[in-house]
Symmetry: C2
Subunit: 214 residues, 2 copies
Amino acid sequence: MAKGQSTRERILSESLRLFNEEGEPEQSAVDVANALGMSPGNLYYHFKGKDAIIRALFDGFEEEMRVILRGSRGRITSIEDNWVYIYIILEEIYDFRFFYRGLSALLDRYPDLAVRFRALLAEMRDAIDDSLDGLEQAEALDIHKRLRPVVVDQIISTLTFWLSRDAVSANSLESSSLIDKTVFEAIALVVPYMGDASVETLNTLIDRYEAAKT
Amino acid sequence: MAKGQSTRERILSESLRLFNEEGEPEQSAVDVANALGMSPGNLYYHFKGKDAIIRALFDGFEEEMRVILRGSRGRITSIEDNWVYIYIILEEIYDFRFFYRGLSALLDRYPDLAVRFRALLAEMRDAIDDSLDGLEQAEALDIHKRLRPVVVDQIISTLTFWLSRDAVSANSLESSSLIDKTVFEAIALVVPYMGDASVETLNTLIDRYEAAKT
């Protein structure tokens, strides 16, 4: 059994690597088996094809993202906390980037995963809302009630489409620069609601972002 | 010649309809010919396959978008102007929505169109920048210099990924509601920079958006 489980994990980890690096649509279960020097029959013993691999990869992503989103509840009280928090979310998304890059197409192909992905987005929305509550209670932030849902939407969009944006851009960035840039952009969405502290926070953020680039 | 040109236009307009409504990846040049009750040979006389059709559709989109972006220069001096302007841009994008829905995949498949699409995005960025200049000169807006490029990026992202966002969302909207919602979201990005007028503007925008929904 232990051996079986380790083969299963090797298949998942090699699939994730191939999908992320070579593009998921171009890869088949047989390509994964070949990359592992494994017979397609052996792979098939563990996963009944590529769909089963994609679902198992999503299981792992969903579980890890849930842990991240739930772990933060009630614990974000400064922009510093928020920076680290968004960084961790983006790193998790980056590990699973093939899924985000082909998001609409994948959700069309897997309606069951679409339902679960939307539930995860709703959970992310609650977590972001909760972190903004924390910042408002700490008096670091004051967003007009009628604008709050729009700001949350914009943060969620930034966290969902940053990889697509990078793919469309002429100058694709290295992963760590891209994550830093995206954290900066997400935080920048709330900077104008920080009152007197906003210019100071902005300068700190930009300096940190500039430092991270070098 | 007149008859030839009209056949060419019929092919383009039917292709656009099919790509938008049925999904571009699922459609072939033969599907387009069938939908028009035309022989594939006749279609081939006008377009050497689907790639040529997609390039011709892009030609039309690019030309119309250029006219919209250039026509506005120096003419946006109020949030009202900006609302109408963004509405027109989104309507143009909506007409060409198959392209935006499968954006990354299409740009991968057509590197020549990727270059032209990026040039168009750069032109859109200049136009947005110009409209923010107009609003600042009219003293309707004051954005911190270091935040300005981030705000422009966020507006461009909103205008580029609104259709992908809607596809990911559980509750897809009708086109006119979706366009209204997106204009509201794009304008909301600059509302916090409007100083004392911001709450009033926000209420006007929300009332207009609510009215447009009903």
